[in-house]
């Protein structure tokens, strides 16, 4: 087992070494190629040529949209869990706030009857999710570790229960006819229609790129340093003059903002939002994606979110010995997580610091025991 582990470590080390020592233009070229690949991916002519990569039994463009939403959520949750080290088990609650705000303001089934266009509801949704993040964070971020996890878990459940049972939020009947994002082609047909999921995917992909650029800059600034110091040792951070509560709240609000964005995009694509969209499982899946990819690393979160959402969809339509594998998708998912936690607890693409923190903790266990 040790040798396998070493092999994995050394392989990954070689790749990361080569990447960090590659000239700048080469890195940019690789990044550009990856981006072009993902923009081209939903085109049938392109993905059919890729062999077994596209999913079976479902519309690949639609699957890609779902995956992109998960990636966006993973990038957002990575700020909270990966950077600031706050265990948030109810991240999907912010997605819900975003989706429902759009639904309530735009749908004809809403009691408000405001019937706003999607684009007008979007900023309101983003502001409201941020406010909900601050409201949830203000009392709870004074708590640490386990307490925070339980309170956030409660928050997501509260939203789910409210959505299920409140008359205003329409329960399982939900909101329908939520308008799509604006825009039309030259011939007058809308870009964001019902039939073609690709424009939505491209929109989310573009937003992911923008969000990643923003998050990356934030993480390299004083704010990012403060987050890392809080994650590594909150007391020490405070003793160095870091206003820990303020920065934890910031991490929470930024994460909420991105979660709300994902929710609003989802509502604009799906046309329909109901309490059935709000399973607790979603929060767990996103958290698993962040940890699987490498908590604290933006690329890790993207890979984790993409991989998890893709794997779950990939099982659809595959039959083995008369069993529909899709039915057992979460069992495989759990299995993968267990194996990962044994061999690579720091995730697929870990953060350099994060890896050192893990080592430090392991050393501490040995010293203590």
């Amino acid at each position: 087992m040790t040798s396998v582990r070493e092999w994995i470590y050394s392989g990954r080390h070689a790749v990361s070494e080569r990447w960090h020592h590659a000239p700048r233009w080469m890195r940019w070229a690789v990044i550009a190629a990856v981006i072009v690949f993902f923009y081209a991916l939903p085109n049938r002519e392109f993905y059919q040529w890729l062999g077994p990569i596209p999913t079976t039994g479902s519309n690949f463009g639609q699957v890609l949209f779902t995956i992109s939403i998960y990636v966006l959520l993973a990038v957002g949750l990575n700020i909270v869990v990966g950077f600031a080290g706050l265990l948030d088990l109810g991240y999907f609650g912010f997605f819900a706030v975003g989706a429902y705000t759009v639904a309530v303001l735009t749908s004809p089934s809403s009691d408000l009857k405001t019937l706003w266009p999607w684009l007008l509801a979007l900023p309101v949704a983003l502001v409201l999710t941020m406010i909900s993040g601050v409201m949830l964070g203000t009392p709870t971020l004074r708590l640490r570790g386990d307490y925070l996890a339980i309170v956030t878990l409660g928050f997501a459940e509260m939203i789910r229960v409210a959505a299920t049972s409140s008359e205003f939020l329409k329960g399982q009947r939900g909101f329908n006819q939520i308008p799509h994002p604006p825009g039309s082609y030259a011939d007058g047909k809308p870009i964001f229609g019902v039939l073609d999921p690709r424009p939505y995917y491209w929109l989310v992909l573009t937003l992911i790129i923008l969000v990643v650029i923003g998050v990356r800059n934030l993480n390299r600034s004083r704010v990012g340093r403060a987050w890392i110091s809080i994650r590594e040792d909150e007391d020490a951070a405070q003793l160095m003059g870091v206003p820990t509560f303020k920065f934890k709240l910031w991490a929470f609000a930024s994460g909420a903002f991105i979660g709300g964005l994902a929710g609003a995009l989802f509502a604009g694509k799906q046309n329909f939002v109901s309490s059935q969209n709000l399973e607790l499982l979603n929060s767990i899946i996103i958290l698993a994606a962040v940890i699987l990819g490498g908590s604290g690393n933006i690329v890790g979160a993207i890979v984790g979110g993409g991989l998890v959402a893709y794997m779950i969809e990939r099982f659809r339509g595959i039959e083995l010995l008369g069993i529909q594998l899709y039915e057992y998708r979460f069992m495989f998912f759990g299995l993968v997580l267990v194996v990962m936690m044994i061999f690579r607890p720091q995730g697929l693409i870990p953060n350099r610091r994060r890896a050192a923190e893990f080592k430090d903790r392991r050393k501490e266990v040995i010293v203590g025991g």
Binding site: A226, S229, D235, A236, L239, M240, R354
Partner: protein
Amino acid sequence: MTTLLEIEDVSLLYGRIKALHGISITVNEGEIVALIGANGAGKSTTMRAISGIRPVASGSIRFAGEDITKLRADLRVRRGLCQAPEGRGIFPGMTVLENLDMGAYTRRDRAEVAKDLARVLELFPRLQERRKQVGGTLSGGEQQMLAVGRALMSRPKLLLLDEPSMGLAPMLIQQIFSIITEINEQGTTILLVEQNAQQALARAHRAYVLETGRIVKEGTGAELLHDPSVKEAYLGVA
């Protein structure tokens, strides 16, 4: 001599347990003041009260003429009060330089920070050697030096040191105490909590003896070093 830190009748609770029973401590500018006592006497708790990590139940803390009893911990750092935390209080995933950089978190005067960095690396040549190494991989002594150096990076008026000699080999203890004296001679006031009473009293201008949350004795370092009861209780000689 002007008073820099004045703690008056401070009590502190951990839940329902009273950890400090109205202690009063004064630190004058330019001094090294030591706080000695056995395990659980309340030394580290006193430190936490001063740095603001723990709220006090009653009493007042004045620093540089201002009441800071209710001030947030991070704002106390900005006023010039910085603590090197006990034991492994460094950031394990950051390199030595990144750790030191965190010490200067509250400062924006880059040129002066660079000067202080040079000074710290001069004080601790070991840190200079290991500057690119990740904090968690340092030895106990190196981590301790890093914690002291990092606190110095905030250019504090008052440096709080919590057990700087804990877990160190005798030679390293000597070394760290002579560095503490040097820091003091360069103009930083120091309040020091120690179990190693011998060293602490030898280096300190004044000292307090803490027993179960109360100050039971105070005097100059030399006085306490020769005090029979202190000798018996803390210095291991009858």
